[in-house]
């Protein structure tokens, strides 16, 4: 793999995992708000 290939791999792991982590917190907040009857 080329140097840019390794760089792209590292950035995909970073931004991809960060998106999933932040997204999971956002979904858990939304679901908990709904379950206690609070509006968004």
């Amino acid at each position: 793999m080329s140097e840019w290939g390794w760089v792209a791999f590292a950035y995909a792991v970073t931004y991809g995992s960060l998106g999933v982590f932040a997204g999971s917190i956002a979904v858990r907040i939304r679901n908990t708000r709904r379950s206690i009857g609070e509006t968004e």
Binding site: E3, W6, A10, I25, I29, T32, R33
Partner: protein, 244 residues
């Protein structure tokens, strides 16, 4: 209502903006004379490692705060920070492996820095697991605060491992007695901005994670206050004909 929604959304906006700036700078900075373009991995690996230290230090502060005051708000801070710290430690390890393969020729080596970071990762995974062993918030806070204090002893051990032992891992890039190891101003700026951007990401995630813990506490309080049928709503008491 719209203003309230806007107030809740600012952490996501802060995360997006700070990462966009850090990404742009890391791409426009020059290639390294030795590592070539691979040096760009440093702009995400070093901030992720820094965030792991910061997050576990905040867990330490929250744990000490709880043990001294018995106020559960300190425990919320410690718990939120530990979860984010575990994520960033895992990310730092993964990025280190991706960087190691093309530069060292191996994905992993039992180097002091790598091994101690892996141990720290598993200790804080244990912290999160320990929190799930009981539903009682006071018992949970007491147990996890002790581990939160003891676990923080690893932070200086991990950071100075590259100084105290002869390791394959390079010495610290920024925090050094003789100043930063990076001489190129644009590369240094990209690294510092990366660290600041990831710190903003950490702060924003903390705000949302603490918000989630508060909501979970509200939900638990509501569930406790509702009188529920012991066998569940689907089960009815059988009519045995006692009334006839």
């Amino acid at each position: 209502m719209q203003a309230q929604t806007r107030n809740r959304q600012w952490p996501w906006v802060a995360i997006g903006l700070s990462l966009a700036v850090a990404f742009t700078l890391s791409m426009v900075s020059p290639a390294d004379s030795v590592q070539g373009d691979l040096v760009r991995i440093m702009y995400v690996h070093v901030p992720a490692a820094w965030l792991a230290y910061l997050a576990f230090f905040v867990t330490f502060v929250g744990s000490v705060g709880y043990l001294t005051t018995k106020d559960l708000r300190w425990d919320r801070i410690a718990a939120a920070s530990a979860e984010i710290g575990v994520y960033f430690t895992g990310l730092a390890i993964a990025l280190g492996m991706i960087w190691a393969k093309p530069t060292w020729g191996v994905w992993w080596t039992w180097d002091a820095r790598l091994t101690l970071t892996a141990i720290m990762f598993f200790v804080y995974l244990g912290y999160l697991a320990l929190r799930r062993t009981t539903d009682d918030p006071v018992i949970r806070a007491g147990r996890s605060s002790v581990l939160g204090v003891l676990g923080a002893l690893q932070i200086p051990l991990v950071h100075f491992s590259v100084v105290w032992w002869r390791t394959l891992h390079q010495p610290p890039s920024l925090v050094r007695p003789d100043g930063p190891a990076i001489q190129d101003p644009l590369m240094l700026t990209a690294l510092i901005v990366g660290v600041l951007a990831f710190t903003i990401v950490y702060g924003s995630l903390m705000v949302k994670r603490i918000e989630l813990i508060k909501l979970d506490d509200q939900k638990a309080a509501i569930e406790q206050s509702i009188e529920r049928p012991v066998a569940g709503e689907a089960v009815t008491v059988p009519d045995l004909g006692a009334s006839s």
